[in-house]
Amino acid sequence: ADLKFKPGEDSKFNWASFEEFKKGHDLKGQTLTIFGPWRGEDEALFKSVYAYFVEATGAEIKYSSSENYEQQIVIDTQAGSPPDVAILPQPGLIADLASKGYLTPLGDETKQWLLDNYAAGQSWVDLSTYNGKDGTAALYAFPYKIDVKSLVWYVPENFEDAGYEVPKTMEELKALTEKIAADGEKPWCIGLGSGGATGWPATDWVEDLMLRTQAPDVYDKWVKNEIPFNDPAVTGALDEFGWFARNDQFVDGGAAAVASTDFRDSPKGLFTSPPKCYLHHQASFIPSFFPEGTVIGEDADFFYMPPYESKKELGNPVLGAGTLALITKDTPAARAFIEFLKTPIAHEVWMAQTSFLTPYKSVNVDIYGNPPLKKQGEILLSATTFRFDGSDLMPGKIGAGAFWTGMVDFVGGKSSADVAADVQKAWDAIK
């Protein structure tokens, strides 16, 4: 196969793990079907990773993705023709698949592996543990490829021209926001538009602010609806978001534009002449929507979404998201693939390119393909709290439905209490 990095050549890579895996697995003549969310550039990157699996085992991999992959996986599992391995970004959906009995548990050995090898291992185990068809919890998923969401993007030169400083605390961030507004400029670009998924960028905001205003266990209760959605803790976070997004002076286009501006278009305001805004809250993937030729770290950069000075005790929480690999059809190849994901090389190959973060402790962080990636990796590793995207953890109908709609209504002017009550009502309806 076409291997991106010749085994054994670059000593930064953990080639030993590759050789070891190669020795232990021979799957010649077998085919492994993988179904994942990655398309386009991401698909090419993923291919470059699984090429090593192919090289090592001799198995053939059929990877496919589709625009409607969530729908696709539901149909395929229901109808009884699932792929061998599915990789999905939504824990909610995974929970559902698990509860219907379509997933194969990965076993205690993997659980132990996660505890041992992933930073903040317990939170990954928690994330990967779901109730099966019989109601017993088991580890069903293997987290692989993480995105950091607690990032604020800006253009350093614009900061320079205007004399702004990167804020270190939330209080400073708010002050900066007010200062920019006072200068007659718009501080933020916020866009919630995403076609059928309109609203989701706001949920990231809220979750990030939840982690910065509440203790992690409140967050956990929130996503499990152990505290109601209209709990003051939640409405508080909503209002914090409202402070940024519902102020016509603070957002480009005014509050009215927030809901309808496409999230893919919104960061472009950072780069116009004159700049339409100075700050943009978005996950680590967003540079693909920056103008062509933008160099991260120079033309644009990011800083960690700062915590409140006043809530020091919460430390540096990080909101993230990621994809989880599942065995949807129990075959030796599928098992082997999960094993493969446990090798450092499966992480390093992607790390060495772009847009891949991992909590795997024993990978060589020097391999990160570029400084920003490394910086994100550091944010991830220095996190005192790591939490997975809450809306992805909630049931689909809420996390990919009522919550989005609620956020759209919220920026449209509805009060936080009403919005939260609506979401809670929807949640009640599916119980």
């Binding site: 969310p37 990655w38 398309r39 386009g40 550039e41 991401d42 698909e43 059929k62 496919s64 993705s65 589709s66 625009e67 409607n68 729908q71 696709q72 149909i75 395929d76 229901q78 109808a79 009884g80 023709s81 253009v155 030169e157 614009n158 021209d161 205007a162 496409d262 893919r264 278009d265 472009k268 780069f271 116009t272 002449s273 004159p274 700049p275 993937f285 693909s288 929507f289 103008p291 062509e292 120079e298």
Partner: protein, 381 residues
């Protein structure tokens, strides 16, 4: 009829059609123009502005310090940020706060003692007394009038994608039989419903109408289950071309039957009677009389069925799969978009690439929508 029977208001007809056409094409025109534009422009300015010379604020970056030359004891970086493109600079600046502070020809004092001059044609010069440093060049903001500029890059990108030819053939392999088979089946059924008396005819017709409403999404799971079952039983793969043809056939049938029956029922019954008297069986009548006379309806339906099967992604993915030798063109194009699907330049270009074949089909079949097909057959009426 001949021209002299036309209403004298033909100009009104021309004008109204033109108006409607403009109304209907306007959105698509936007798409077309967008597909020819530079992708970064898409989100910043309206597509219609691309057609005219427009005044635009842009940012350029001067080459980095590496490219400075020493001239008369001064260090100079020069270049042209219009890059040879026609255009005219009307103002410039070096700070994001004052992007249009200077007029072309003026000299701007940069913060660190460098001096920047920009000419109308976009050429600029940064002059400094001391050697300049830094890996990034100076940002220059400028306002320029740029004439329309289009690029075929987006199309190039889409068309050069790997496996696109293969997907094209896959799509055709799906679409052609998925168009022909339902037409054949539906035509027979429509004939029976229109011209053969049997009990329960009206009810059956109504059921067909009712089935038009069945949401595709509802059928996918039960059908895929069935396919898997059948595939397992015969030991063949569940996802085959045969399977998708039949699926498209099933989904297309109600409309096909409904449209064709309506058309066939309107054919003059004398023609059928006369064929019957000539000794033709129902089969003969169908093949030799009804089919040729139903060409307009067959062609119309063929246009739509082809279009649906060609543009379909869902059914193809569910019943055919996404492997190399199955992935259809729409699937391939969607996969070109990033995982978050925001590449509008690819979207727009691929929308136009997929549209071509259905439009050819439309054009080709349109000539079967002829006038006066029945002229001369019966007298009176």
């Amino acid at each position: 009829m001949n021209p002299s029977t036309r209403s004298p208001l033909t100009w009104a007809v021309h004008v109204s059609v033109l108006l409607l056409v403009v109304l209907w094409t306007m959105p698509t025109a936007g798409l077309l123009i967008s597909s020819l534009r530079d992708k970064d422009q898409l989100a910043v300015s309206g597509w219609w502005t691309a057609l005219a010379t427009s005044s635009r604020n842009s940012v350029a970056r001067a080459p980095s310090a590496d490219s400075q030359v020493e001239r008369d004891g001064k260090f100079v970086i020069s270049g042209n940020f219009l890059g040879g493109q026609p255009g005219q600079v009307s103002a410039f600046g070096f700070s994001s706060r004052e992007p249009a502070k200077f007029k072309p020809g003026e000299t701007a004092e940069l913060n660190d003692g460098e001096r920047l001059t920009v000419q109308e044609d976009g050429s600029f010069e940064i002059v400094s007394d001391k050697r300049m440093e830094g890996s990034r060049g100076q940002r220059i903001f400028f306002t320029s009038a740029t004439p329309p500029r289009f690029t075929l890059e987006n199309y190039g990108e889409v068309l050069s994608a790997e496996g696109i030819g293969r997907s094209f053939i896959n799509s055709l392999t799906v679409a052609v039989p998925s168009t022909v088979i339902p037409i054949l089946i539906a035509a027979f059924a429509a004939y029976a419903l229109a011209w053969m008396p049997f009990p329960g005819r009206a009810i059956l017709l109504a059921v067909v109408v009712g089935l038009l409403v069945v949401p595709l999404q509802m059928s996918l799971i039960p059908l895929l289950k069935l396919y898997n079952g059948v595939g397992a039983f015969f030991g063949v793969p569940a996802k085959t071309y045969m399977g998708i043809w039949l699926a498209h056939t099933g989904f297309g049938l109600p409309l096909a039957i409904y449209l064709l029956r309506n058309y066939m029922a309107g054919l003059p019954r004398e023609i059928m009677e006369s064929a019957r008297v000539d000794g033709a069986s129902d089969f003969d009548i169908f093949v030799k009389i009804i089919l040729p006379l139903s060409f307009p309806a067959l062609a119309s339906f063929a246009i739509f069925q082809f279009l649906w099967t060609w543009n379909d992604l869902l059914v193809a993915i569910v019943f055919l799969g996404t492997g190399q030798d199955q992935l259809v063109l729409t699937g391939r194009l969607v996969n070109l978009l990033g995982s978050r699907g925001g590449n509008w330049e690819i979207l727009t270009a691929s929308a136009f690439i997929t549209i071509v074949v259905p439009l050819i089909v439309f054009f080709a079949l349109q000539r079967y929508l002829v006038r006066g097909l029945l002229a001369g057959s019966v007298k009176g009426g």
